[in-house]
Symmetry: C2
Subunit: 353 residues, 2 copies
């Protein structure tokens, strides 16, 4: 059997089962984006890694080393943000062809350092090796107060589902890169390309959400809203209803989608790499959390749905009121609507920015 | 300028200078094999990474996934051993082609898990990604009591230079792999191939050396004795004299060297990947450390030279009494012997096993 047959999450699940329950001192082990470890101190240690492989995660000719450096750091920071943690130190595992120019490495480090220093994170070591492909693998260590830790597994029936910022911009940027013939307003082009190349990790927002003590579960949106809400549903053993019209999508992404003949909703649901935070909170506290995040960071928070019992599955309510099954990787499978609640309840707290 | 022109250590030095002094809470940063970090607890946190790239660090057709898994863990453990630390947790960053068989990944994990569990280390997370080449990048977290920490930088003039186990076996194994026509005794073949594929990280030995509180500097031998003693000399600002005849070389390696028409000393000095520990200790304490390590772990320790003032450079005294400059990557540059002490002092404490 090849891994293409069981997919990334099938493989991770297989590894998790093979390794068995986590050992002593391991609060969260295999299967999450971040390992949470007990040390002697009063905070938990967080550890995560994310790799960028040439030709897979980036096209060398279309990405400057500076952009690559910033992006590599940002996606790792986002994993720490996703549990509400404080990032601290980075190890850089760099594998590169011998003919790489020293100036390329300089610019890569300039990008990494600039992104890291925005969050007071320092690069403390790593490893360099030879490789036919350029590989930037980052290992990020962070910490969190045990009381603030937010996992995927805490969502409860009745909670609202909330998201920071806007979704789909990164996918819109990628669409422009893949089809340079698409024409959109210059400022919109700049904004979605920037979202794609140098996403902003929501460290401050994650801390604010964690400190509010009101959120119940959290994840960062790396696989797309549809895939990441599925992770929360699986870990929390709940269902969800997302209201398509409440999903925050920028004017820029709408314009790109139109030029590309795509539904902007597709970009938001399945595009991924937005690195916004997706979290849940009881309805009576949700608005306070959103206001707190907005006040502390300036970033808007939008309520986009609510948590249902597990047996109600994952539903997306479209503008016309039809309810479709929200697949994690594509929502073309229309389900028998009788399997899902037909009553489209209004989300109790509406979006504001 | 290409990185092939400045080499690995030139590149690391350039990065180190670019990043400047380590930040708050960083005891040891860029340039060492292990980052040493202060956390809230009473121990320091250790963090290290080491990558295995297909075609560079291993030949996929000649290495079983089980061997690759064990080796990947072992070389990382060795970095923790090199400072006297206790390894704790591993993150596995795995990048692999889509057509990889699930059973291959199973065997890789079996190897990693087996090696890790020997040292009570648990795999707590990581990342999987697609890549045209198989890449196993491990991040290892450990800890150490501040009083036990051994760095490269503590060697003092007059100290003896000591090494655990034997040197050259891994290079002898590689020589057999590269030239299958070489004929040696079956047990010798097995022993050097094992040393090459599944080196033994000297965790217990590193702990014993650290706990003795007598050693002054330590490193693991990954680049070869010549290269790694140079690291100690540079970090400690000292010179060294190594006595060629005292370097412990196995009967197996001697036989392989003979069959290959090589000097066994070359394998020991420049072969690398032995993952033995190289350390320094004052002469009056050296024998006690060696006896303690032998008693605690069964591993022999050999005195192979002594630390000199920095201006005496790095010398290798050969069997005929001639003193040559010990280059880190090759010792074909014969130096004017007047630049080095002609008196070949006897090492005060002789090898024992």
């Amino acid at each position: 059997m090849r891994i293409s047959e069981i997919g990334e999450f099938g493989l991770i699940e297989r590894i998790r089962r093979r390794l068995g329950p986590p050992g002593e001192g391991v609060i969260v082990g295999i299967g999450d984006d971040v390992a949470v470890l007990r040390t002697g101190g009063d905070k938990y240690l967080l550890a995560t890694c994310d790799i960028q492989v040439e030709g897979v995660h980036f096209i060398k000719e279309r990405t400057t080393p500076y952009q690559l450096g910033r992006r590599a750091v940002a996606v790792n920071l986002s994993d720490i943000a996703s549990v509400g943690g404080i990032p601290k130190n980075i190890l850089v595992s760099l594998a590169l062809p011998q003919e790489t120019k020293v100036e390329y490495v300089d610019d890569l480090y300039r990008g990494m350092e600039e992104e890291a220093s925005r969050y007071k994170v320092s690069i403390v070591g790593g490893n360099t090796a030879r490789s036919p492909l350029l590989i930037v693998d980052l290992f990020l260590i962070g910490e969190i107060e045990p009381d603030f830790l937010l996992l995927r597994s805490g969502a409860r029936e009745g909670d609202l589902v909330l998201v920071t910022g806007q979704l789909g911009d990164s996918a819109a940027g990628l669409a422009l890169l893949l089809d340079p013939s698409l024409k959109v307003k210059e400022e919109n082009e700049r904004s979605v390309l920037e979202a794609h190349f140098t996403p902003i990790p929501r460290i401050e927002e994650g801390r604010a959400i964690a400190k509010s003590r009101a959120a119940t579960a959290m994840i960062d949106i790396s696989d797309g809203l549809a895939g990441d809400i599925a992770h929360i549903c699986e870990s929390s053993e709940v269902g969800v209803r997302i209201l398509a019209e409440e999903i925050p999508i920028s004017e820029a992404t709408r314009e790109v989608a139109k030029a590309a003949g795509k539904d902007p909703l597709d970009l938001a649901l399945f595009g991924g790499e937005d690195y916004e935070l997706l979290f849940t909170a009881p309805p009576e506290k949700a608005e306070d959390v959103a206001l707190f995040v907005k006040r502390e960071t300036g970033t808007p928070v939008t309520a986009i749905g609510e948590v249902l019992p597990a047996d109600e599955g994952r539903a997306l309510v479209k503008g016309d009121g039809r309810s479709v099954f929200l697949e994690s990787g594509g929502w073309d499978h229309f389900l028998d609507t009788s399997a899902f609640p037909s009553r489209v309840k209004e989300v109790r707290w509406k979006r504001r920015s």
